[in-house]
Symmetry: C2
Subunit: 226 residues, 2 copies
């Protein structure tokens, strides 16, 4: 288990990694980043798992897709595993992001501190409303969506966030694809269709509330029975 | 597998259900709601799983925590399983929600159509900035956070969303707990501490971007090798 040199992603195929494993990598990374902030230098798979509600076997199996990271009798070295997961997730390099739709959500996303902390830099903010052009939100100048192609090329932007109202989402996504964007995070509460070579994630904020209502409802059911 | 009468959550203990199973329930629910909108009346565990990247065994195992929902030779009845999962998640009743922090994110959340669609109604919007009191955002009047206790009791609110800047999040959460709120969704990019009897979920928007950067980075690695 000690050959940490084999941890990088370059040598292996990621094609077969289930989506759900990748989403757990993000959770491992956040927990490890917290641990590092607390100066905890090592952690076992069991401890990492139990902090997130997973078994140690799950943690080991997930990481085994990408290499061998643990040390016998030590566990994982926090700092090393943070670097390794960032490399796997591709966030050891900086990603430039364009956001389209500078309404309330767009403004909120521009002000969200969690993005740059994880390696995502919003370098352009576009809107179809010409009235907004020239205004500066969180240090980024709002520009017309007509300049999308030019701006994507100029800043070498690969990722886009769609924060427009639902009826406009597909058309904006099509424009992003035409401009060469390779991955889209869609915040509009509607499904968008993209060509296979463009990745997408849809953000559904109600899911978080459902996780909460489950626990509260569970407690209510238990009270009623007692 | 046909005793659908046993599907309700009342008779069983939910205490041992892992968090990750509950989060998959939300994904199943969304997919089933899409299927229902497409008038698809039944679906197999294999098909439901493959649409989400899970195995049929995973789907069956997750649902088995809560009862028996499938029919031999038929699979799941879409509409029935939607109702059952909503009951399990507690979203077959309406939840009243208070949101604290009416900045850009708060305004975006007030305008987010996905909440009411899933049974969450934001009935109160509070801010510490007295200047904002009396203004109406998306049909909800902004009020002073000083009125929190009174408003929570008056509207029988159980859930809260925290959309204030990170340094204020813990203090706002403490006020929500004192007012009797039972579950909190925290959008501030900071960890908050709550008593055990209050549920919480932290929303980390960068996770969605990481899922995208993973796929794009994977493609880039593959191109470089070819």
């Amino acid at each position: 288990m000690s050959d940490s040199k084999r941890k990088t992603a370059n040598g292996i195929s990621f094609a077969s990694v289930p989506k759900v494993v990748v989403s757990r990598l993000s959770l491992y990374l956040r927990e490890l980043q917290h641990l590092r902030a607390e100066s905890k230098e090592t952690i076992s798979s069991g401890e990492l798992g139990s902090r997130l509600g997973f078994t140690d076997a799950q943690v080991r199996k997930d990481l085994a897709y990408f290499g061998q990271f643990g040390y016998p009798g030590i566990g994982y070295r926090t700092d090393e595993l943070v670097q390794a997961i960032r490399h796997i997730l591709g966030t050891d390099i900086e990603w430039r992001v364009v956001i389209v739709g500078i309404g309330n959500l767009g403004r909120a996303l521009l002000g969200y501190k969690g993005f740059s902390r994880q390696g995502f830099e919003i370098v352009a903010a576009l809107d179809s409303d010409k009235e907004k052009s020239g205004s500066v939100v969180e240090g980024v100048e709002v520009q017309s969506i007509d300049r999308l192609d030019e701006i994507v090329k100029q800043h070498k932007i690969r990722l886009g966030m769609v924060a427009v109202p639902a009826p406009a989402a597909q058309s904006v996504a099509d424009q992003l694809v035409a401009a060469g964007i390779e991955g889209i995070v869609n915040f509009a509460p509607v499904t968008i269709n993209l060509p296979d070579h463009v990745s997408q994630v849809g953000v559904d904020l109600a899911i978080e509330l459902e996780q909460i209502s489950f626990t509260v409802a569970k407690r209510l059911h238990a009270l009623r029975r007692s």
